[in-house]
């Protein structure tokens, strides 16, 4: 059987990290936006734009770093469109987000048409000398690419920002009650715009990770629904960064383990295994809604509501 073999276990953990990182990156951005009270369903669209522009950037300049920046900028540009519509014109957030996803999928196909079938060098893994040679944990902890380390820094950074800084507190206040925050003199729309743009940057980065590191090529529609999983993750995590990281790794782990279970011939129906992550989300949603009275960490109260300041 050999499923418990140390080499195999190490390989599985490495695969799980790679599969989880794009989900974690995109979900981090969405978490901040939702904490500010903005529901942006356009994650998938921003992500695929990040993927195509990241790939295009890397292909044209030959630099992974410039490609990554191009991906982030593409995500920000998409988010700016969303912010202009939902914050500037107070348009319905759900409809705008859905439109953003459809728009992104279409536009990325158009931009990417010339890049299909091209290839670039994969983003390098940063082997840290000595440490990455440690048995078992070495390659796992010290042999990842920059995106993976950044995603961890991002989670810790967001956690610190939301719970230990004044702007973080204001951001949460805006998400929970924009009218009161406005009455206290906080710039609701400006902070929300910043949160939305940050969300776009993270989604763009997640997309760039897909086309630069995960599978270094571009194909139309290559995000394959990961933006939607990121959205589900934010709910799964009940809007908390720590749980978000745990959730992203859980999703990644289930995805990879079901592939290994099939390869090892364990005889579990693949359809059941494939549906497990989504089943888990539904179960967590049920638990959250049951515990809402006591846990008090449900959705930000102003989530998805348009705010028009009374000037």
């Amino acid at each position: 059987m050999g499923l418990l073999d140390a080499n195999l276990l190490q390989a599985i953990i490495l695969s799980v990290i790679v599969a989880s990182t794009p989900l974690l990156l995109a979900a981090c951005g969405e978490l901040v936006a939702e904490r500010a009270g903005v529901l942006n369903l356009g994650v998938e669209g921003m992500m695929i734009m990040g993927a195509v522009c990241g790939f295009a950037g890397a292909h044209l300049t030959g630099s992974t770093l410039l490609g990554t920046l191009a991906g982030i900028l593409a995500g920000v540009a998409m988010a700016a469109v969303f912010a202009a519509l939902t914050l500037g014109l107070a348009v319905n957030q759900v409809a705008t987000g859905l439109a953003l996803t459809i728009f992104g999928l279409g536009l990325s196909g158009l931009i990417g048409a010339g890049f299909v079938g091209q290839r670039i060098t994969r983003a390098p893994q940063l082997f840290i000398p000595v440490l990455s040679d440690l048995p078992f944990v070495g390659p796992i902890l010290f042999g990842q690419d920059a995106f993976v380390y950044f995603s961890i820094v991002l989670v810790v950074g967001i956690w610190w920002f939301l719970y230990s800084t004044r702007p973080g507190l204001v951001l949460r206040a805006i998400g929970d009650n924009h009218a009161s925050a406005h009455a206290l003199g906080y710039p609701v729309l400006r902070l929300r715009a910043a949160a939305v743009l940050f969300g776009g940057a993270c989604a763009g980065l997640a997309g760039a990770y897909l086309s630069l590191a995960y599978t270094p090529f571009f194909i139309a529609g290559m995000t394959a629904g990961r933006g939607w999983i990121a959205l589900a993750l934010v709910v799964f995590a009940s809007w908390r960064p720590g749980r978000l990281a745990a959730g992203a790794y859980l999703f990644g782990a289930v995805t990879i383990l079901q592939l290994h279970a099939q390869g090892a011939g364990l005889g579990i129906p693949p359809q059941l295994m494939t549906s497990l992550p989504y089943l888990a989300t539904v179960i967590v949603l049920i638990i959250i809604s049951r515990a809402r009275g006591t846990a008090g960490s449900a959705a930000p109260a102003s989530l998805g509501l348009a705010f028009v300041p009374d000037r």
Binding site: G109, G263, A264, Q271
Partner: protein, 355 residues
């Protein structure tokens, strides 16, 4: 307002067709984006071949990303109404919609890929991809040191299962004890998941990779670890310059040109074409990254299949449960048995999902 728009569109379409009266209008309906570098991409290459060969006599149009539902019927009808005289619908799921529209427009010729419902003005066509799988099985068995082949698959339809069986039957002629590890990812197209599946197969000891999914992810992932692999739908050598062994390439161009010419000459008739290596509808990418003796085995097999001397499903065929399959085609399984294949041959250590 909407009615006005439709009327306006019709007027534009009519005047456009009047202006280009001498040119035959040919349309394609694609299920995916032309940029998938797989199934739809190859149909698009076929359309471009038509433009290149007959560009002075035909005008071509395509609609991409058409979903296999009510949208399909609307899209096919849109092509029919705007003066197209020959329409190719290129996915199994377009079958019923194509039949419906074909009945409505008896003077327009329709061609549906991979389906089985025909009309007087509706022909069907498909390719014997399993012939290419036979060659891959031979190469894989020769190249594998561990005796384990890794196979990434999409959804359990007969085309996919016959591919697995053809691979296994061929591989067993080289190494009777060869094993195949199979991972179903449940979709045709998800590069990340395809890469993860390739990774899992290699981690479990597979040292040659093959796939029946649409992206180059498996080839690319294998290349990273120096594991040989086979491309799918199109030549993916760019993604594994030192590891791709060959690829099954869908070559629709010659068929599209032939059928368009028949319409131009007024000789088009309905029918069913199931082309393979012989007619060139299935071709193999160059045999690369393998020793000369393996290359020779592959080339000989290709020539023998094309010449009708080697049959991928030559009787007797023994099923997974040890029973010999009824031989309906004389010396081989007949086309109906291959088109409806939903069982594994002996030696495949997997269960067909949903069975």
């Amino acid at each position: 307002m909407q009615r006005l728009l439709i009327a306006a569109a019709a007027v534009i379409a009519l005047s456009a067709s009047a202006a280009a009266q001498e040119k035959l209008k040919v349309g394609w309906i694609y299920v995916g984006p032309v940029g998938d570098f797989g199934w739809t991409y190859q149909h698009e290459v076929g359309r471009q071949a038509v433009v290149k060969a007959l560009g002075d006599k035909v005008d071509t149009t395509y609609l991409e990303n058409v979903s296999e539902g009510p949208d399909a019927e609307r899209s096919i009808e849109q092509l029919a109404r705007s003066g197209h005289k020959l329409i190719f619908t290129t996915s199994f799921g377009f079958m019923d919609a194509t039949v419906k529209v074909a009945k409505k427009y008896p003077n327009i010729f329709f061609e549906h890929a991979t389906g089985y419902k025909r009309e007087k003005n509706l022909a069907t066509y498909s390719a014997r991809f399993y012939e290419g799988r036979t060659i891959q099985g031979l190469i894989a068995a020769k190249m594998s040191k561990s005796g384990i082949m890794g196979y990434i698959v999409s959804v359990p339809i007969p085309e996919v299962i016959s591919g697995i069986n053809a691979t296994m039957l061929a591989a067993q002629t080289i190494n009777p004890n060869i094993k195949v590890k199979i991972i179903w990812i449940g979709e045709w197209f998800n590069p990340g998941k395809e890469a993860a599946a390739a990774q899992a197969l290699m981690d479990q000891g597979a040292d040659v990779l093959m796939q029946h999914t649409d992206s180059a992810a498996a080839v690319e992932t294998g290349a990273k670890r120096g594991i040989p692999s086979f491309g799918q739908d199109s030549d993916m050598i760019k993604f594994g310059p030192k590891t791709q062994l060959t690829a099954i390439v869908n070559n629709w161009g010659p068929y599209y040109i032939e059928r368009t010419k028949l319409v131009l000459d007024g000789k088009w008739t309905s029918g069913d074409v199931w082309g393979g290596l012989k007619s060139g509808m299935v071709t193999m990418a160059p045999y690369t990254n393998m020793p000369d003796d393996v290359k020779k085995i592959a080339e000989d097999a290709q020539a023998a299949i094309a010449a009708g001397k080697l049959y991928p499903f030559k009787c007797p065929v023994v099923a997974q449960d040890g029973k010999t399959v009824e031989c309906k085609g004389g010396a081989t399984l007949d086309d109906g048995q291959i088109l409806g294949m939903n069982w594994y041959v002996k030696g495949v250590d997997d269960k067909v999902p949903g069975k």
